[in-house]
Every structure is written in structure tokens, then in C-alpha cells.
Amino acid sequence: MTDATVNFDGPHGPKPKPIFSGRNIFIYGTLAIVSAYYLLPLYIMIITSLKDMDQIRGGNAFELPIGPDFEAWVKAWSSACTGLNCDGLSRGFWNSFQILVPSVVISILIASVNGYALANWPFRWSNIFFTILIFGAFIPYQVMIYPIVIILRELGLYTKLTGLVMVHSIFGMPILTLLFRNYFTSVPEELFKAARVDGAGFWGIYFKIMVPMSLPIFVVAIILQVTGIWNDFLFGVIYTKAENYPMTVQLNNIVNSVQGTKEYNVNMAATILTGLVPLVVYFISGKLFVRGIAAGAVKG
């Protein structure tokens, strides 16, 4: 094959397609339309919350606010009325905050230790214990509502924030334990053995070896718990009373209390305010989450 010379006469193969190809326009066009469809309600909520009642009564929902003002937001936060109380969502916000922080911390602390023990320190009945715990995740809430009322009443915690914190912590346990157990099971067993030979005990291994390796799963657990507990309505309305209602219940009461005309701008502002916390958590921890995953990928 002496006469087969290679010609270096430029690149071969299909050329890269231009940005504005028919395919790209179709894909991004579809994406744009779908996202506009999903963002439309948010758009209406925001502009409505910035309008005054006169403009809202005008009836054009898509119209931009004339001289946008934040009066509705201020009212929603501090002076909207629910029945006899007229101090807005602020009280609900602080209630929710006081419910959220201890519930998230307690449930994650206990569940992570649970998961760690189940994954690395199997005991005689650990598998049965785990099965029962997981089974708990599948029992419908409705079955438990009334028994819990009685338990809380007997403990003297019914209608108190502490009671609700307890309920949230317990209800988060099955799924969080499963989450942590599965994560810790994936940590190489030899690492655990090495730490034991090095003389670390149950807590030593947990705090010095396992926890530093588990940032991603802690972030996942925090996202799950924060959004779940903040968005909870059912437990809040059942296990607390008016002055202890979480923000979601407060929001419902503001939106549903009819005194004269419905103040759509206040309702919209209140709704956005209530949804703000999970939204912020998503935005902040989403980044952390990705970083956590990336850090976890660099295995030793």
C-alpha cells in the first residue's frame, strides 16, 4: 500500500451546528413557553401584591401596578386580621420559626445517630427495629391524629409549641433514619474498622469520622425537614391553638376571613411571605448541596 497517501486537507466529519438551528429554536422555544406558563401565577401574585385595591377592582389581572407600593406587604406582615387578632403574619412567622428550628435540629440529630447505629453497630434486634421504623413511614397520618391528641393532652403539651415540635421530630424519624442509614452503609466498612483499631468509640467514630464525611446527606435532610415542617398545615392546626398557630395556618385564616371585600393584594403578599422560607432554603442549600456532593465524590 505505498500509493495510499494521507491527505491533511482540513477537518472531516459533520460540522458543528450553528446556535440558531431549527432544532435549537424548537427546544428552547418550547422551554420558554412552558416556563412562562409556570411563572405566570407567580407574576400575577407579585404584581397584584404591589397594586392598591382600586386598581385591582379595575379587573385587569395582567396590568402592571400603577405606582407600585408595598402597603399590602406591610399590612400582611403586621396588621392583617384573623378573627379578633389583627397583628398579621408576623406572629405566625415567629411561631413557625420556633417550631422549625428545634424540630429540624432534634430530628436530624437523633435520626443521624439512629442511622449510624443501625448501619455500623448492628445489635440483636436491629433489623426488626429498622423494619418497624420504616413501617412507620407508611402509616397514614389520619390514623395517628387522634391518639396523638390524647398523648399530648396527657403529657400536658396539647396546644403548646413544644408538643408540636415533638410531633414533627417523631414524624420525621422513619424517613430520616432510612436516609442516614443508607448513607452510612455506603461508607466503606474498612474505614469504620480502621477507626476501631485506632481506638475510637461509638461517639468518636460518629463525630470524627462519619459526620465530617456526611455533609451532603445532612444538607438533604435539612432541605427535607425545613420544607416539610414549614409547609405543614395539618399538625399545626390540630395540635396548637390560635396564638400558637404556625404561619401556614395564619395565612389560611387571613385569606379566608371575609370582612367586606377580599383584599387580594394583602392575600397575595401574605402567600408570598409564607412561601419565602422554603424558597430561600432551596436557593441557598441547592448550592451547598451541589458542593457537598462534589466534595463527597473525592473519595480517599
Binding site: L191, K193, V197, D198, G199, V298, K299
Partner: protein, 360 residues
């Protein structure tokens, strides 16, 4: 003060109803390099984990350095352990990894520093001390893992297939380093592997295990030359020993198979050799190719396949359906399909009873 460093007495271990180790006895001398060798699932790693205290034994006793440690915590046994997957703590630097065990022992700071410096010096990892495990190569990681056992200043080192995750070249380098380390430290080392080359090169004694039992416990050359049973004979040696099914005849003086017969004169038997069914094992290097046929000494064989191995050539012969391999210098040339006269060096062969599979 006895010479025994690690002693295992009547050790049993069950996982549920599965017996993994059965009535196992083993004495390991001070400063000895003992290799536990066997195929997967033979219980060698399990035994090591029992010695380390990472598995609770079902029965029996373990003594380390004269103390009964059967139920002691791993940290109180005076052992250091090196794992196959290195098992370095990923979030700590190399220094942190080395210090971790010492900090748990609450040793004074200057003592910790002294020991880390010494280990780093021995293993030549001084420049790596501030790096994270992720920034190390496989060989460096395993060095750090050895260092983590070294700083504990213990009498007994346990190695659980430490070189299996490394590539071939690095493996032979670290093997030499391990041998040097053992000469330097002179402490007891127990080493689990399924690689017979590692076992033969490193060990003072090899314990070959199968099904939870120790099949043979002897120095490498004895294990190689005088395997105690058929399993050991087949497991040790590469290329493997040829096994010939046949019968001992004429009052233990000759071995016959498929109408062929070889005399057994020169064979060093354990006791008296009686007539009956037996298996003759011959290593390829103990099969020679003779120019002339000799009755009772040579076999007529057809050359089947030729495998050049570089320094040697492995020839596969067929003697009426019985496969016998021979290792010959690569300079000589042979043709497949031709007939040759094979001479078996009976003085270096092994005879096994067909029923008990024990060496005769």
C-alpha cells in the same frame, strides 16, 4: 516469657448457622512473618478480623503478647492493622490520619510528634504529611496506611490483602519494602493474601486455609515441595502441578496409570506406601524430556500445546488422555504433535491417597 506472640486456641466462629472457622489452633512466634493464604471464602480474612477484635468469636481463645484478648476491644490488643482499601480518613491530612489513633490514646503531644516523625521517616512520606488522602497515589496511600499501624508502636501487625488494590509493578515494589520493613522492625506480622507469590516471597511460614481449616502450616519451601494434601498441591505453584490418577502397585514400588508404569524408587514417603488408588503430582519443572525411552522411567507423550513464558516454555503433553505439563528452557525448540519421552523426577514428586487426598 515464651516465644509465642499470637496464639489461637480452639477458635470457632459462626455466622448464624454457618460455621466459618472450626476449632482452629495456631501459634505464631515472636517476630515471625506468617501468611494466611487461601482462595476466597476460606476464612483467612475472617481469622484476621477475629485477631483484630473486629468480629466476636463464638468459641475458643486468642492470646496476644501473653494476654488473653479474646473479648478485648481492638484498641487494647496491641495490634495495628492495614486494610486492602487503605481505609484512610478522607477528611484528615496524612498527619491527621497518623495522629488519630494516638490522640485517642491521649498520648502527650511531643510523643505523638516523635512517633509520626519516625513513621514518616521509615516509610519516606515526610513530604506527604500535609496532604489529604485524595491527593495521594495508590502506593502512597498504602504507605500511609502502614504508617498508621506503625505509629501505634505495637508488637503485632495485621495485613488484610494490603497490596491487592495496587497495579502489578507497584505491588512487587511494595512487597520488597514490606520485607525490608519486617527485617527492620522485627515484630510479628500476620498477612492475609490470595496471591501465592506474595505468600512465598514474604512468609516465614504459610498457613494455607480452606473451608475454615488450616490445611498446612509450614515454611514456603516445604509447602511448595511437600504439600500435605491434594488441595495445597494444586493451590501452590504456577504453572500448576500435573495430577495423574492411577494406582500404586507391586508393594508400593511402582505407580501405574492407563497402562503406563513408573517406578517409585527415590520417593520420600511419610510412612509406608501401600498398594491402592493414588494420585501422583509432578511439578512442571520436575518433568524432563529424555532422548531415549527407559522402561519404568519415561513415558511416551504427544506434545499438545506450547506456551512460551519468556524465560521458560511450558509444554503441555498428552499421555493417553492424561495431561502433563513440563517447563523447559526457552532456547530448546519442540514441535506440537510429535512424540517425546518424558522423565518424571519422582524424588521431587508428591503422592496422594485417592480417598483421603493426604500426602503419602
Amino acid at each position: 516469657m515464651s516465644d509465642v506472640s499470637v496464639s489461637v486456641k480452639n477458635l470457632d466462629l459462626n455466622f448464624g448457622s454457618v460455621e466459618v472457622l472450626k476449632d482452629l489452633n495456631l501459634d505464631i512466634h515472636h517476630g515471625e512473618f506468617l501468611v494466611l493464604l487461601g482462595p476466597s471464602g476460606c476464612g483467612k480474612s475472617t481469622l484476621l478480623n477475629c485477631l483484630a477484635g473486629l468480629l466476636d468469636v463464638s468459641g475458643g481463645q486468642i492470646h496476644i503478647s501473653g494476654k488473653n484478648v479474646t473479648w478485648s476491644e481492638p484498641k487494647d490488643r496491641g495490634i495495628g492493622m492495614v486494610f486492602q482499601s487503605y481505609a484512610l480518613y478522607p477528611q484528615m491530612t496524612v498527619r491527621g490520619n497518623l495522629e488519630f489513633g494516638l490522640k485517642n490514646q491521649k498520648l502527650p503531644k511531643d510523643e505523638i510528634e516523635k512517633r509520626v516523625a519516625r513513621a514518616a521517616d521509615i516509610l519516606q512520606i515526610q513530604e506527604l504529611l500535609n496532604r489529604k488522602p485524595a491527593a495521594l497515589s495508590g502506593g502512597q496511600r498504602q504507605r500511609v496506611a502502614i504508617g498508621r499501624a506503625l505509629v501505634r508502636d505495637v508488637d503485632v501487625f495485621l495485613f488484610d490483602e494490603p497490596l491487592s488494590n495496587l497495579d502489578a509493578k507497584l505491588r512487587s515494589e511494595l512487597r520488597v519494602e514490606l520485607k525490608r520493613l519486617h527485617n527492620q522492625l522485627a515484630n510479628t506480622m500476620i498477612y492475609v493474601t490470595h496471591d501465592q507469590i506474595e505468600a512465598l516471597t514474604l512468609a516465614d511460614r504459610i498457613a494455607i486455609m480452606r473451608g475454615g481449616y488450616i490445611q498446612q502450616l509450614a515454611d514456603p519451601m516445604t509447602v511448595y515441595n511437600k504439600p500435605s494434601n491434594l488441595f495445597v498441591a494444586g493451590f501452590i505453584g504456577s504453572p500448576a502441578m500435573s495430577m495423574i490418577d492411577g494406582e500404586i502397585q507391586n508393594g508400593g514400588t511402582s505407580f501405574s496409570f492407563k497402562g503406563h508404569s513408573v517406578t517409585l524408587s527415590g520417593y520420600e514417603a511419610n510412612g509406608e506406601v501401600h498398594d491402592g488408588k493414588a494420585i501422583l503430582g509432578v511439578r512442571p519443572e520436575h518433568v524432563s524430556i529424555e532422548s531415549t525411552a527407559q522402561a519404568g522411567k519415561t513415558l511416551e507423550a504427544t506434545l499438545d500445546i506450547i506456551e512460551p513464558l519468556g524465560s521458560n516454555t511450558l509444554l503441555w503433553f498428552n499421555v493417553d488422555g492424561v495431561i502433563i505439563s513440563a517447563l523447559v528452557p526457552s532456547e530448546l525448540s519442540y514441535k506440537s504433535g510429535q512424540t517425546y519421552h518424558l522423565g518424571l523426577d519422582i524424588s521431587k514428586a508428591s503422592l496422594f491417597d485417592a480417598a483421603s487426598e493426604q500426602r503419602l
